[in-house]
């Protein structure tokens, strides 16, 4: 039983940290920071899903922003159409899952740089379709997306009165997503994924259905991204074509790489910090360059991620 407590402790600490951040910021009358922290949470959800796919299962995806965009735009279209606005997020998630299933079945047969280019192409296609279709607002995107009403007066909305609750909603979903991912990674399935990453043929030889596992984690990571996109679209009351572009896709890969590839906590930390700084404008005009630079630097010097390198340095005397 102490084992279980040890596993849950970090999550509880994170929850405590989240609460304290909110309390402190509100006390300092600086809760406008909460808005960017909330956005940061939704982007972190994408990174967590991608971490499962790239870090644990070892399948690269250079077009993951495409799933974020599919989720966001689906929600936006349904919500602005007015008929049944509460359908927007669930439908967005289902549509993203369906697309990822259709794309994943053929594409996951590829490996290495072919997989990278194929997923890149997928992201590109999504991007071009968004830019070319009037329904999606083309270059202007979709704006005036109404808030997404939940229950008991809660809603996903960017308005000031909803600021604090949205901070908790967003980070609550991230905590749940992290918890589920941690469970998965420590389980029989998680070991199977790591085995696939390590040696696909050997994994098959012990009875693991490699193709099915890859597809399942691909869809799961797409669902994380689609959900994040749908929620952020409501929070920002708008979505633009850049959310599905290659720059964003590269950004997510950079975050997972910086966090340590197969390190969910590392990805969480890297993503929360870096996206928050980016949203605050800390990188100014060099925003995209910073993430590109981070990706190059990590891939050159520390491909297993910064945290793994630090761990190694600690172990060697």
């Amino acid at each position: 039983m102490t084992n279980a407590r040890a596993r849950n402790l970090p999550l509880l600490l994170l929850a405590a940290l989240i609460v304290s951040i909110q309390v402190v910021l509100s006390a300092m009358k600086a809760d406008f920071y909460l808005t960017q922290l909330t956005m940061s949470a939704w982007y972190t959800l994408v990174a967590l899903g991608l971490c499962l796919l790239m870090g644990y299962a070892g399948q690269v995806s250079m077009g993951h922003a495409g799933f974020f965009a599919i989720g966001g735009y689906t929600a936006a279209v349904i919500s602005t159409a007015g008929a049944a606005p509460w359908l927007s997020i669930p439908t967005a998630v289902l549509v993203t899952a369906a697309v990822s299933l259709l794309v994943g079945i053929p594409v996951l047969r590829l490996k290495g740089h072919y997989l990278a280019m194929a997923t890149l192409a997928f992201g590109f296609i999504v991007s071009r379709i968004i830019l070319g279709t009037t329904l999606f607002g083309q270059a202007d995107g979709i704006s005036d997306i109404p808030a997404y009403k939940l229950f008991a007066g809660l809603a996903i909305s960017g308005r000031r009165t909803f600021r604090i609750q949205n901070f908790y909603i967003a980070w609550g979903v991230v905590l749940a997503g992290l918890g589920l991912a941690l469970n998965l990674v420590r389980s029989r399935t998680g070991r199977a994924l790591r085995a696939i990453h390590g040696d696909e043929e050997a994994a098959a030889s012990v009875g693991i259905d490699v193709a099915r596992h890859k597809l399942a984690v691909f869809v799961l990571s797409a669902v994380y991204a689609g959900l994040a996109g749908a929620c952020l679209a409501h929070f920002n009351a708008g979505i633009g074509p850049s959310e599905g572009g290659i720059m964003k896709s590269v950004r997510y890969v950079a975050l997972v790489a910086a966090g340590g590839m197969a390190n969910l906590w590392g990805t969480l930390a890297a993503s929360a910090i870096l996206t928050f700084l980016s949203l605050r404008g800390a990188f100014g005009l060099f925003d995209d360059a910073v993430f590109g630079g981070i990706l190059v630097a990590i891939m050159l010097f520390a491909p297993e991620g910064v945290f793994s390198v630090l761990q190694r340095k600690r172990k060697t005397p």
Partner: protein, 257 residues
């Protein structure tokens, strides 16, 4: 074709392009016995192994497990039918400990699934503990329980081989395929490996070994098949095969005194 045969290979043919690498190979593996396939380089041993293990699909012929045809099935389905294998170059999962490697081998013995596993400890704690215990037992049975928490890739080669054997045994297979188990081992390690394999006889595991090293094979096998250029040239007990003139000439070259 007699009853009591776990594996039947019937009239197996395989072509690589224009090369007829497996030419009408037929033999059985008796249940609970140790069967070896030997032959000089290029005889087709590896191809035969890959055909049985599901890595390759034979051009024609049948491979049957207790009467059920398995040729052409993908490797993970073959594993699900109770056939485990090792690799010639010992492919343990890098980045995982010895115990984790064996637990992956135990994959089929338990059930799960993405949704259930995401529920975590709530559903799985008893299963996890059971898996750990059973896998530690297997490691213990092979005398390497003390290596459980070490990173698999840090082990010396000989130990890695034993761990791979443990992983293959973890699923409780009916038939164990060993791909050149003595490859890369020194004589004393080879002897240890031979003892381990012989020890499997009593545990209801049928073993099919593809091997180059005579000393390992002749000491522990019940029956031997000799391949040369894709054909079976001899079949029988180790002693019968050793005395076979054609076998001797194939290995030593014709015309030797």
């Amino acid at each position: 074709m007699s009853g009591g045969a776990l594996l039947c290979v019937r009239d197996l043919h395989h072509w690589f392009g224009g090369l007829h690498v497996i030419n009408g190979v037929e033999f059985n593996c008796e249940s609970g016995a140790i069967r070896a396939v030997i032959g000089p380089n290029g005889a087709g041993k590896t191809t035969l192994f890959n055909l049985v293990a599901g890595t390759l699909c034979p051009t024609s012929g049948a491979i049957e497990l207790q009467g059920k045809p398995i040729q052409g099935l993908p490797p993970h389905k073959i594993a699900a039918l109770g056939i485990s294998r090792t690799f010639q170059s010992t492919r343990l999962f890098p980045g995982m400990t010895v115990l984790e490697n064996v637990m992956v081998g135990h994959h089929l013995a338990e059930h799960g699934g993405f949704l259930r596993d995401m529920g975590g400890r709530l559903f799985n704690s008893r299963q996890e503990n059971r898996m750990r215990r059973q896998c530690m037992e297997i490691l213990d049975g092979l005398g390497v329980a003390d290596l459980a928490e070490q990173q698999a890739r840090d082990l010396p080669f000989g130990r890695q081989r034993v761990v791979e054997l443990a992983r293959a045994l973890a699923s409780g297979p009916r038939l164990l395929l060993l791909d050149e188990p003595a490859c890369g081992l020194n004589p004393s390690e080879t002897e240890e490996m031979a003892l381990r394999i012989a020890g499997l006889r009593g545990r209801g595991v049928t073993v099919l070994i593809v091997e180059h090293d005579m000393s390992l094979v002749m000491g522990i096998s019940d029956r031997v098949v000799v391949l040369s250029y894709g054909r079976v040239i001899a079949e029988g007990t180790p002693r019968e095969v050793q005395a076979n003139d054609e076998v001797v000439s194939v290995y030593l070259g014709a015309g030797d005194a």
